[in-house]
Amino acid sequence: MAAPQRRTDIGPPHYKDFLPPVIQKNYGNWKYHEILEPGVMVHVANSGDKIWSVRVASPRLLSTDTLRDIADIAAKYCGGYLRFTTRNNIEFLVSDEKNLNPLKEELKKKGYMMGGIGPRVSNIVHTQGWIHCHSAASDASGLVKVLMDEFAEYFTKKELPNRVRLAVACCTNMCGAVHCSDIAIVAVHRKIPQIDHEKVPNMCEIPSTIAACPTGAISPDPAKKSVKIKEDKCMYCGNCFTVCPPMEIHDPEYDGVAIVAGGKVGNLRTPPKFSKLVVPFIKNNPPRWPEVVDAVKKILNAYEKGAMKHERVGEWIERIGWEKFFKVTGLPFTHQHIDDFLIARETFRTSAAFKW
């Protein structure tokens, strides 16, 4: 069978062809929205037209079976229109109110989980992990699964002071952009790369390997036509491995995850914030990483208990102070928490005011 005629540089199809008619009509003319249920909201246009969005949890990793199933559901109740959210949830776009309840019924029956709208825990932004990436120090999908199992009620029902955005990245490349999340997991190594001096000369470009090291720990090893690492400068980031695979950094005995917290991206109230390190290391304990779930739970519970309405995790922490954060969560504060990288001094407490 001859392949069809390939075309290049055509770009994606035009978005207009995928918008439900009610959206095409009221494009840019919405008036307000209301959250009807944790998984259902309605947007009302200036014209009075309405569109209902029914949000459903997705593991992001979808088989074609499941994709076909949701396509069928959308065909049945949504005129064939659906979308995915920026956090990988599925949204069924209902133009006709009478389809709303039947849709919900069918979703319930089929075991789809509705929720995630409003001040709740939504889906976890995450990455490839052991499923596909060479660089992973932990698995992403597994961590997402066990965390969302634990926090499912915060997706389907319970409200929190504000949205809590979770993220998981399976290495410090941080494809999951965990650096600005309310609570996030980033997988880390803790051992110096093992250099395969046989392979380095063929597989690696020495100057970019040296340039890849954030701490300048790598220098040429001219004799071996390879590189060497100054041990006490290496903090196991693995960036050398990214550009030079024979610098093997994985070590199952030492790999695991760190937890960061307090980041956000929106500009509401306070400017976007970086996440900060709260737990420097927890060993990989698959399949269900109970220690990780436990630590995240501690943070989420303390936030739920202590935050004022509309306060994001980072805003809450800034109000109570980091000393109080470590106190109320019971997480230990260690040397690893104190910055020693490029902007370290900006993080030092240059003030004599603090809490006990």
Binding site: R6, I23, H33, S63, T64, K145, T156, V265
Partner: protein, 398 residues
Amino acid sequence: MSELPKTPLLDELEKGPWPSFVTEIKKAAKKNLMAKDELAQLEKSYTDKRGYWKHGGIVGVRGYGAGVIGRYSSLPDQFPNVANFHTVRINSIAGFFYTSDAIKMMCDIWDKYGSGLTNFHGSTGDIILLGTNTENLEPLFAEFSSRGWDLGGSGSAMRTPSCCVGPARCEWSNIDTLDITYSITQEFQDELHRPAFPYKFKFKTAGCAVDCIASIARADCSIIGTWKGNIAIDQDAVKWYEKNGMNIQEEIVNRCPTKCMSYDGKTLKINDEDCSRCMHCIAKMTKALKPTGERGATILIGSKAPFVIGATLSWVIIPFMKMEPPYTELKEFTRKVWEYWDEYGKNRERIGELIIRRGMRDFLEYVGIQPDPRMVKEPRRDPFYFWKEEELVPNSKL
């Protein structure tokens, strides 16, 4: 098709309420050998606590340098069907809107040429077709492209731009996020498909400062909608929120970062001159408050993951740019930025890192933008700065 491998560890991840990725892989594995080996290798990873993938060499489709991530199992003997197992990035639809037909069309092709596994979507916003063999790449691409779909970005190229739902279904969008995304994607097809930059370059567009696409955290160029006028207040709607249990003083007035709001129990007032357009009050009282006046976008540059100098957030380069099709100003600005990067950027140096290395002045002068206090949180502290010859007119004040 043969039976599924034993996966006692992964089976644990089919328990619990959240939809299980393991179940998804198993569904595919039932009819697809690649998916089956993916499942088996993953169980081994769970057992050994480590990944078994190797870095790809360059694989791709003819004429393109981007869009495919090469990947090889490091245990090809045990898992021959994923010995090579590349992901294909399909450029998604702006706003992530789809039709049932389009989804099914993709499934049909993917079942034929790949593992049957996908990500909707990858973090950058591509449709990720999760794993296929080298020989399937060309026919797969032919199937997609002949139906009007193209590959997304990878490598040192422009990456697939993405955006929030914006004007399609949000009352706050100040700009046409979908159209901007579509327009720049089309404009820069060459830059997307043929890596020629020092490193990757990402665009993300949000309709307002709520930033539902996290553009400020993970886009070399973040385009964020904003407005220049006042906030119109519907006092009856304010009352409605109060009646429905909102504590206006506490939840709205006290949380306003610029303290420009007041409420006397009757009338909500905003001193618009002091409002920084943070979106808090509007987001929490959508029926009562509406931005008015001129619309446009703030252009920010530079966010990225931590390598090499630590993570960065994008920062303001152009406080306000009008955003009307064909977005000529944005496109010209983009080309100027790339020209600068091309001129001075080192290999694997993102645009933000470059500007930090060479200084804002160097960059601003190159792209022809005047300094503005909105570019900084605060002016510098130290008195260590440069002067150009022409500024040193002796004995003149500045």
